[in-house]
């Protein structure tokens, strides 16, 4: 199958006091068109740095020392900043981790979505407003017109994350990078947001790089998974085989630690009770 993103032997280093410390040491990663690709690792493994390298928003002291990032057939590490900006706006989008700080607190929600459409899609104001309403409707915000006039502080965490998801999908990008999109949410809201991301992704056939440290979440939403440890991808597999038979020792230990917390069944009698209730009604 065709890949939308191909990263080949990427090395990244951060300079501190004239000493170069490696952040990524030879990352290979390929994301296929229309797949959800999980990227799992502990804090400090380099997940977010990799995402920033793809988006071209690396911090000042960090640089790519060698390697290639091929997006849609072009090596994007060689683009100038203007071309890079165009790419990161129209073709690659991001769903950030923290819905609390990622929206401008003094601008109405609708305006913030409109801004993106006017700037990148060249829409006029009227058209952008119409499109915003449609986008918010798509992310299952019930009264998009009312919400458009609200400020971020008036929305719950889940609602804010929905708005950010709408923005990410607004320019119909080929690749979306979701950096721990549900870490700040509680489990029930997390599930709704995961459902939403999956549904939108399936409808638009966008490729998605899903960064997380939660193997549980990754098991539910990803087609393939890459495991990252101190700047390297140590294992890349389909979700099924990764969770069935993890190959690398680090993956095995991650799974073991995670599984330790899930030693319970969630009340298997839930299913058997439901039909009985319905029969009473019938």
């Amino acid at each position: 199958m065709n890949s939308i993103l191909n990263i080949d032997d990427l090395h990244l280093e951060v300079r501190r006091d004239h000493i170069a410390n490696p952040v990524l040491s030879g990352v290979d990663l390929s994301i296929k068109i229309g797949e959800i690709h999980g990227l799992v690792g502990n804090s400090g493994a380099g997940k977010s740095m990799l995402a920033k390298a793809i988006l071209g928003i690396l911090p000042a002291a960090t640089r790519i020392s060698s390697g290639v990032i091929n997006f849609d057939g072009k090596d994007i590490t060689r683009l100038d900043s203007k071309q890079r900006r165009h790419l990161a706006s129209r073709h690659i989008a991001m769903i950030p981790q923290d819905p609390m700080t990622s929206l401008n607190p003094v601008r109405r929600v609708g305006k913030q979505v409109c801004d993106v459409l006017q700037l990148h899609m060249g829409m006029d104001r009227g058209k952008a407003q119409q499109e915003t309403q449609r986008l918010l409707d798509n992310v299952q915000i019930r009264e998009p017109k009312t919400v458009m006039r609200m400020y971020p502080f008036e929305l719950s965490g889940g609602m804010r994350q929905r708005v950010l998801i709408a923005i990410a999908f607004s320019c119909k990008p080929e690749l979306i990078i979701a950096d721990e999109p549900t870490t700040a949410l509680d489990v029930t809201v997390q599930r709704q947001i995961l459902q939403l991301i999956k549904q939108l992704q399936m409808n638009s056939a966008t490729a998605l790089l899903f960064i997380s440290h939660d193997l549980g979440v990754v098991a539910k939403i990803c087609d393939r998974v890459s495991i990252m440890q101190s700047g390297r991808i140590v294992e890349c597999q389909t979700a099924e085989s990764l969770f069935d038979e993890p190959q690398h020792a680090y993956t095995q230990s991650l799974l073991e630690t995670t599984s330790k917390y899930y030693r319970f069944d969630r009340g298997t009698n839930t299913h058997s009770e439901t039909p009985a209730e319905h029969q009473d009604h019938a």
Binding site: S43, E143, Q195, H213, D214, A219, K220, G267
Partner: protein, 546 residues
């Protein structure tokens, strides 16, 4: 509900605790700020050395409860007893001596540490406050002991908080809390920002501190898995009320409250499970939550009959007709009633005021099926009900065309429908397929031998389709009724079940996510018989010869 026990080992007793806070967002320009009820009568008992988990979603009041126990908020009503003393209405100065006995650890480790102080100052601040240290040397010495106790290098004494990682900062918070040897520790979401390994190490630390110091622990979290790991007893909160109290094992293995079940099912276990994202159970039960989220339009219409778009083949009579009625009754958005001649469903269309649309379709006409799949691109539920029975035996009959016709409709027809609509369902978020077969798919009734063969083929087909569409989240259900009171089984002896019952049970099964259904006593009995002794059932059925 835990009853108040004033026994020796009871450390904390809370009875009917209420808390109202001002709702500033609703404050009018002039006049009073309205109150909002945060806690609505909470009862809780914590024994010495016991760990109690408090779980619930954001806004359920669990953090407020923790803070009220610490008397950071003044309760509106009820009573808090700590070691038998009433502390509900004590003043700040009266509370002060008790602070050494109850400590709190907060969620965000960075904002709980003074960024301008070195670690040893932070760690020994409570000791200075209680006059237990009086020199820098002494406080550095104690800080080193504390650091060692929580598994951090002693070299950290002179560092600043920003030089530490999230997990390390949380350890500092824990060390500071236990510095004054408290008897009760309230931990509010202390691991929610940490990755799995850091989380695991912090929990292990907490467990060992608890064992060594005999601490009682109130552990507040939205992560049920973590609570299960560390707590003896769990309180589930929802909207300021306790919906369930149980010991951990019971709660996680046999939850009683619907709300607890929905919370449990929302935990993403680390196993691949394709239906999980589409399972409607939790969404339905967590009704209040979706209200808060401003989102009630459930996306998993495939399990939710209400709001789905269904297509039923063979809709003119028997079970098919009952399906159309049941679907309308349960709030389906649209029902495509497929029949060979649309006259057969004219009354259904006129009675439904627009919900039912008649589609002319013969399932043996594969070109027409493709057209219909194009036309009905919004289908989320496919019910393959069309089937024929020619009452044809194998050896006794010399005409092969009857057997072919049965195969053509019952097997190839169903197959063509599944093929044409799998893509449509996938695009609409997974959806569901129900293939109406017969218990005869599993045992041959010689009186209609070739029909049984076609139904058996249908069952095998259903399994295959299930496997192939699992990836897109499609639920595939095989329905195997016994004798149903329709034209098709007019020659079959009673008892027969009414066709409406088959339709209702099928829709129930779809809503609860079953993969195989044996509606009616006969089907149920035969299937149990087959599981126990298939040969005996075969011999029984062999009696019915044409």
């Amino acid at each position: 509900m835990p009853e108040i026990t004033n026994t020796e080992d009871s450390l904390l007793d809370i009875h009917d605790l209420r808390l109202n806070l001002r709702d500033r967002s609703k404050k009018p320009l002039f006049g009073f700020t309205p109150n909002v009820e945060i806690l609505k009568g909470i009862n809780l008992n914590v024994k010495r050395g016991e760990s109690v988990g408090i779980v619930g979603e954001s806004g359920s009041g669990k953090t407020s409860l923790g803070r009220t126990i610490m008397r950071l908020y003044k309760p509106t009503g009820g009573e808090i007893r700590f070691k038998g003393n009433e502390i509900t209405h004590l003043s700040q100065s009266e509370l002060r001596p008790m602070r050494a006995e109850m400590q709190m650890i907060f969620q965000d480790p960075m904002s709980a540490l003074n960024p301008r102080h070195r670690i040893y100052v932070i760690l020994t601040q409570p000791l200075w406050a209680f006059g237990k240290v009086d020199s820098r040397k002494e406080s550095e010495r104690i800080a080193r002991i504390l650091l060692e106790r929580v598994g951090l290098p002693t070299a950290f004494v002179n560092r600043y908080p920003h030089e530490l990682s999230g997990g390390e900062r949380q350890r500092i918070n824990i060390a500071r809390a236990v510095a004054v040897r408290p008897e009760l520790l309230v931990a509010d979401e202390i691991v929610s920002g940490l990755d799995v390994s850091a989380k695991s190490r912090i929990l292990d630390l907490l467990q060992s501190l608890k064992d060594d110091l005999g601490l009682a622990l109130i552990f507040i979290s939205h992560d049920l898995a973590v609570v299960n790991h560390i707590c003896d007893k769990v309180l589930v909160m929802h909207n300021g009320e306790v919906v369930e109290t149980a010991n951990s094992y019971d709660l996680f293995h046999a939850p009683r409250a619907d709300y607890t079940k929905s919370l449990l099912s929302a935990i993403p276990l680390p196993v691949v499970e394709h239906g999980w994202l589409h399972d409607s159970q939790s969404i339905q039960n967590a009704g209040d939550l979706s209200k808060k989220e401003g989102n009630e339009t459930s996306m998993d219409s495939q399990f939710n009959i209400s709001g789905c778009v269904a297509l039923v083949t063979g809709a003119n009579r028997g079970i098919g007709r009952e399906f159309v009625n049941a679907l309308i009754h349960r709030g389906a958005k649209k029902v495509y009633a497929c029949v060979r001649s649309t006259d057969g469903v004219a009354d259904l269309v006129t009675n439904s005021s627009g919900t039912v649309e008649a589609i002319e379709l013969d399932v043996t006409d594969h070109k027409r099926i493709a057209e219909v799949a194009q036309q009905c691109g919004d289908v989320t539920l496919l019910i393959n009900n069309a089937g024929i029975n020619r009452l044809n035996a194998f050896v006794a009959s010399d005409d092969i065309s009857a057997a072919r016709a049965e195969m053509e409709t019952n097997y190839f027809g169903t197959m063509a429908m599944c093929r044409a609509f799998a893509g449509v369902l996938g695009q609409n978020g997974g959806g569901a397929i129900a293939n109406i077969l017969s218990i005869l798919a599993r045992v041959n009734l010689p009186m209609m031998g070739s029909l049984c063969a076609s139904k058996a083929a249908g069952l095998s087909l259903t399994q295959g389709v299930r496997a192939e569409t699992a990836k897109q989240g499609t639920l595939v259900l095989a329905v195997m009724p016994g004798a149903v009171d329709t034209d098709m089984s007019r020659d079959f002896p009673p008892p027969k079940m009414p066709p409406s019952e088959v339709a209702e049970q099928t829709l129930d099964a779809l809503e609860s996510g079953l993969e195989e259904l044996y509606p009616g006593d006969m089907a149920d009995g035969v299937s149990k018989g087959l599981d126990a002794d298939p040969k005996a059932v075969e011999k029984d059925f062999a009696q019915y010869l044409p």
